[in-house]
């Protein structure tokens, strides 16, 4: 859907008026296109230099980024790792940083945090449009109060910094859950967060466990050879997810209700996938979905539970049918299909399941007790299933979209829609593709470090943060 304010504010006249009237100035976000480099310009890398624990890790991180095609400049000074020889010539030519990355995994004391301040104080003034800030840390583990306080402090820094950033820039925190979680699990997170794929992911904390991850042969086709089923694929976010998965190499089975078959066929034909007309609430739906994928494509690697409905009503006025249908489609169907996926002949080893939750399920929403119940239920389901999926060498995660520009939000009253759009750090609604990119990323084999988590794609929405 068109955000006319965003277009206007980014026109020459609009820019002047907005500046003069001090209006919010949403930026046109950098979004991923096939062939794009990870970053348009150089990345400034900082860390807790001098620490024995950190030195080898920092080099590894630098090498990882350089191998991903990023121009890395290692910061010098108190916050840098002190190797000016690696400074790239590009840095002088382009005074703007495309990203600031700080490795705080070695942070143990409150005093270490001052190095972050110093690093960002220097770097933020030169952060370019749609810039990226990524802080790498370790999750508090209860071992030492001073260390845990320091680690938790990163959370506050990144969330606040995300709110300070302008011009489409985002800040996110990546926490390694255990000491075993090495840089292998970090690579996919870095490739997602630095790229245009994470345009609308802002102020989020991503926790990575120590799971084994597989690196794709070609990072531009991270889903090559995978078979993916996407429910609710006939339109909106589902169609966008199907498109992104197909673009990234997956064989996509686009599923939706039989009555949505006409647009479903169009989506399947556009992306070179196949259509599967299926009511996911029917008793035999899990069996039919799995049998279909097995018979036609030899198995299923990825299932995206996107199908969902809303039947909004204040709880006092809610009819049983409105309650039941929302829970049946949004939650019960997912529960049954996931259980079936864990059975022999279900999801292949290394599989990925991504469930669509919602910020309504986190923060609640007036008139949506049924919808919020289903979406909060999805979050509980994902957390609870995580262990079983891990034993299957698979993962299950949820993506919670905030305000996304879809047919559904286009139907909102003008004032409500306009307010909802701006209530986030990026001052605009997200696009369906933003959700699709996050779902796609969690589907990568390389993203095995994420399990049982909820990733919000909300531009750091003020609601339910």
């Amino acid at each position: 859907m068109a955000d006319r304010y965003l277009s206007l504010i980014n026109s020459p006249l609009g820019e002047n008026v907005a500046s003069w009237l001090k209006l919010p100035r949403p930026a046109v976000l950098r979004r991923y296109e096939v062939g794009d480099p990870l970053l348009p310009g150089p990345l400034l890398l900082g860390g807790l230099g001098g620490r024995a624990e950190s030195a080898s890790g920092a080099r590894e991180l630098r090498d990882l980024l350089v191998n991903a095609g990023v121009s890395v400049v290692v910061a010098t000074g108190a916050g840098g790792t002190g190797d000016p020889a690696t400074a790239w010539a590009d840095a002088a030519a382009d005074p703007r940083w495309s990203a600031l990355v700080f490795d705080a995994t070695a942070a143990t004391s409150v005093a270490d945090l001052a190095l972050l301040r110093e690093f960002f104080a220097g770097g933020l003034r030169r952060l370019g449009a749609s810039g990226r800030v990524v802080v790498l840390g370790r999750a508090p583990d209860g071992a030492d109060p001073v260390q845990d306080a320091t680690r938790q402090a990163l959370d506050g820094i990144v969330r606040s910094l995300a709110k300070e950033l302008r011009n489409g820039a985002t800040a996110n925190l990546v926490l390694l859950d255990t000491t075993e979680a090495g840089l292998a699990v970090v690579e996919s997170a870095m490739r997602f967060l630095l790229s245009g794929r994470s345009a609308y992911v802002d102020g989020q904390v991503i926790r990575l466990g120590g799971a084994a991850v597989a690196t794709p042969a070609d990072w531009s086709r991270p889903l090559q050879g995978k078979v993916a089923v996407v429910t609710g694929a006939a339109r909106g976010i589902g169609a966008s997810i199907a498109t992104v998965l197909a673009r990234d190499g997956a064989q996509v089975v686009a599923a939706d209700l039989p009555m949505a078959g006409e647009s479903l066929a169009r989506v399947a034909n556009r992306i070179g996938g196949t259509s599967l007309q299926l009511d996911i609430t029917s008793a035999d739906a899990p069996e039919r979905m799995i049998n279909h994928a097995n018979a036609r494509f030899g198995g299923v690697d990825i299932v995206i539970h996107n199908a969902g409905i809303t039947r909004d009503k204040l709880l006092a006025n809610m009819k049983p049918a409105q309650w039941d249908s929302v829970l049946a489609v949004n939650l019960e169907a997912q529960l049954r299909i996931n259980a079936a996926l864990l059975q022999p002949g279900g999801l292949r080893s290394g599989g990925r399941v991504v469930c669509l939750a919602s910020t309504s399920g986190i923060a609640g929403n007036r008139g949506q007790t049924n919808y919020a119940a289903s979406k909060a239920g999805v979050i509980g389901m994902v957390r609870s299933f995580a262990q079983s999926f891990a034993e299957h060498e698979a993962t299950i995660n949820a993506v919670a979209p905030g305000f996304i520009e879809t047919e559904m939000t286009a139907a909102m009253p003008f004032a409500t829609r306009e307010a909802a759009r701006r209530l986030n750090s990026l001052q605009q609604g997200g696009q369906p593709v933003d959700v699709a990119e996050a779902v796609g990323w969690l589907s990568w084999s390389a993203s095995g470090g994420m399990n049982g988590q909820v990733l919000r794609v909300c531009g750091q929405n003020l609601v339910g943060a």
């Binding site: 686009a254 039989p258 009555m259 949505a260 078959g261 006409e262 479903l264 066929a265 169009r266 399947a268 034909n269 070179g272 996938g273 196949t274 259509s275 599967l276 007309q277 299926l278 009511d279 029917s282 035999d284 039919r288 018979a295 036609r296 494509f297 030899g298």
Partner: protein, 428 residues
């Protein structure tokens, strides 16, 4: 070299609509293209070059001389897929299946689509025959004077267009009027016809409810189920309808409820060799075994034995004989319900010892079939009958029934205008 059997991999159709309903402004080409695209989406055939696409329409505009090829070019199939048009009245759809299956059996093609489409809403309206001649004469004239002279021959009566009609050119009788004669001659009662019609609606409704049609139908123009389907119809309700055919006879029995309505729609069936199916990882639903076509002399023949829609009765013993089968050797029967009484008269003829001896040259009647195996997921009375689309609907339906059963044999019988009939055997 023994001919191989063609495999039926699946089908697709759009829901059938009543004439001048939701598809009133859709052309044959629109419907056929949408149906092909739905099939392409279901089987992942985007950009695929198939051996051929054979399709047809009974009511066809002269501008649609290359209807099927045009639909292929508008679809997501490879534009390098050749196509041709076929027409054998209501036998068109099944006949396209026969043609493609035979080419596959002979190894001439590895894959193909057999399809059919019809619209009575967007039917061609021809210029009055007299006017057509005047205009052609004017076109042939060498100068202005000649043209004016020719055009001066136009008479007001010639401005009335020739409306389309489904009457037989040789008798002037509509199909319904022809069937009314057969119905009366064979003594098919109103009650039996109404009962049969109710079963068709119930069976089709149950098929939709169970999800059987989820991978056979793709919605079109906001219609997701056959518009004619009345899941809650009853014998009592049908009994109230006034007869519409044979109304001059003393005891007319055929009503709008036990006759198929004029319909718009399209269907397509994907066929291939077993090898092609395996290469494309597409499960085989059933195989095409054999087919037979017959004609009756409905113009000069016997009122009872040579009814316009009785030709399948004659084709059947020839098909069974060639395949060394009896009428009872089948798990499913798909007899096209042009009218409830067509099916009932056909069954009556096969059970009639005298008729089978005298007219079919058999020692004994073909006998009765198990009615519980007949049109088990509904047929034309409930779904509607876009003439050339019925064959594809039936073939895909029967192939899926056989696949679900995992064994067995199915029999198809379709009557057609011009006193023709097509019958065919499918096997798991």
């Amino acid at each position: 070299m023994a001919a191989r059997r063609a495999a039926i991999l699946g089908g697709n159709r759009i829901p059938f609509a009543r004439a001048n309903g939701p598809y009133a402004h859709a052309s044959n080409q629109d419907m056929l293209t949408a149906t092909l695209d739905g099939l392409v989406a279901r089987f992942g055939l985007q950009g695929e070059r198939l051996g051929e696409v054979a399709a047809g329409a009974v009511l066809k505009h002269s501008k649609d001389f290359n209807l099927t090829r045009e639909a292929v070019l508008g679809s997501r199939l490879s534009p390098r897929t050749p196509a041709y048009d076929v027409q054998q009245a209501c036998g068109t759809g099944l006949h396209t299946v026969i043609l493609v299956a035979n080419k596959i059996a002979l190894g001439q093609v590895e894959s193909g689509i057999a399809a059919g489409v019809d619209t009575v809403s967007d039917a061609p309206i021809a210029v009055n025959e007299g006017l057509r001649r005047v205009l052609l004469d004017a076109n042939r004239a060498k100068n202005l004077a000649g043209r004016l002279k020719a055009l001066a021959g136009i008479r007001p009566s010639q401005l009335v267009p020739a409306a389309p009609s489904n009457s037989e050119p040789r008798t002037g009788l509509s199909m319904g009027e022809h069937q009314a004669i057969t119905t009366a001659e064979w003594g098919i009662t109103r009650e039996a016809q109404d009962e049969f019609a109710v079963a068709s609606h119930r069976n089709l409704a149950a098929a939709y409810e169970s999800g059987f049609l989820d991978d056979l139908v793709t919605p079109f123009l906001k219609l997701s189920r056959d518009q004619n389907l009345r899941p809650d119809t009853t014998i009592e309700r049908l009994a109230k309808l006034a007869p519409v055919f044979g109304t001059r006879s003393p005891n007319p029995t055929m009503t709008a409820g036990n006759s198929t309505p004029l319909s718009d729609g399209a269907s397509a069936v994907l066929l291939a060799s077993d090898e092609w199916a395996a290469e494309h990882k597409l499960p085989v639903l059933a195989h095409f075994v054999d087919a037979e076509t017959a004609g009756v002399d409905y113009v000069h023949g016997d009122r009872k034995a040579d009814g316009l829609l009785m030709a399948p009765v004659y084709a059947m013993p020839r098909l069974l004989e060639r395949n060394k089968l009896t009428l009872q050797d089948f798990d499913f029967y798909e007899i096209h319900e042009a009218f409830a009484s067509t099916v009932l008269a056909t069954l009556a003829a096969w059970e009639d010892e005298g008729f089978c001896r005298q007219r079919l040259g058999l020692q004994a009647p073909l006998g009765a079939i198990d009615r519980a195996r007949l049109n088990v997921s509904g047929s034309s009375l409930a779904a509607g009958h876009p003439f050339a689309a019925t064959g594809g609907r039936i073939v895909a339906n029967l192939a899926k029934l056989l696949h679900e059963k995992g064994s067995g044999r199915g029999l198809i019988s379709i009557c057609a205008a011009g006193g023709q009939g097509v019958v065919a055997i499918l096997e798991f």
